[in-house]
């Protein structure tokens, strides 16, 4: 191999390694903050608590809607028994009941979606327990297969 070519290859290799090393530092700087295992755990807990909270909110809304629907039905029944009642009022109440039922159906769909998302995250953690890993030793072992 000609000395010039060798020197070119070596110089390219040195520059490449220095650029790679610099890129490690740049990535760390761009990332702004490094994640400790405790950070990862709190992020995961946050995701779970947000999802659980939203599911609870949707269930509470649904329950409130069901109570309103049942109250409205009782009221409509009473109105229907009274011959003097204006039919327009009954019709508007039925429309309101229908709206609430539609809203409840939407809540059911949303709850199912959130539960699916929750189980997806739980599965991800089961598949990759290192997401919650507190032990950094594993990658400090230079010969992990031994």
């Amino acid at each position: 191999m000609a000395p010039d070519l060798l020197q070119f290859i070596v110089t390219t290799g040195i520059i490449g390694s220095i650029i790679t090393a610099a890129s490690v530092i740049v990535q760390v700087i761009l990332n702004k903050r490094l994640r400790t295992p405790a950070d990862r755990q709190s992020e995961i807990s946050n995701v779970f608590s947000i999802l659980n909270g939203t599911i609870q909110d949707n269930r509470a809304d649904k329950e409130a809607n069901e109570k309103t629907i049942s109250a409205l039905r009782e009221y409509v029944d009473k109105l229907e028994d009274d011959s003097r009642t204006d039919q327009t009022l009954i019709s508007s109440l039925y429309t309101r009941i229908h709206e609430l039922e539609m809203r409840n159906a939407e809540k059911d769909r949303r709850i199912a979606e959130l539960e699916a998302q929750l189980s997806k995250y739980a599965e991800a953690i089961v598949k990759d327990p290192t997401l919650l890993d507190e032990d950094l030793e594993q990658t400090q072992n230079p010969f992990p297969l031994s």
Partner: protein, 147 residues
Amino acid sequence: MNLLKRITFRHWAWIHVMLAFTAWAVLLQLYTPVGVYAALQEPLVTLWTTTAAVGGIIAILGLVLSLVAHARTRVISVSVELFGLCLALVGPFTYTVTQASLIAADGLETRLALTMLAYFSLSVILYRIFIVIPRFRKEAVDARKDV
């Protein structure tokens, strides 16, 4: 002293590998073989041996930092070690290429074993880099922030 207590035999073994590597780079700088010197000239020899030696020391520092109790320092250690390993890679890479290039002039009998030995040291550094990269991606680059 607490830090020293945390260094296990496994860590000492790897520190020993990196110390030997650093000593190799320093000795190559001080006592450069004639063939290598002729092929690369002084400035280039100084550059790659110094880069490799500095990289080796930084990699050792990264490994030692990973044993510090403070969580954030431990996380930073992986970046320090990877930075050092990338610099250290210059040494075996240059030595492998140089020895391989000298095969034509000096013959297989003289240079092949040295080329393979250089390739072996290159593989050792790469092996450690591939062990460290997943942890670096997880903790420093934050690739899996979604979950």
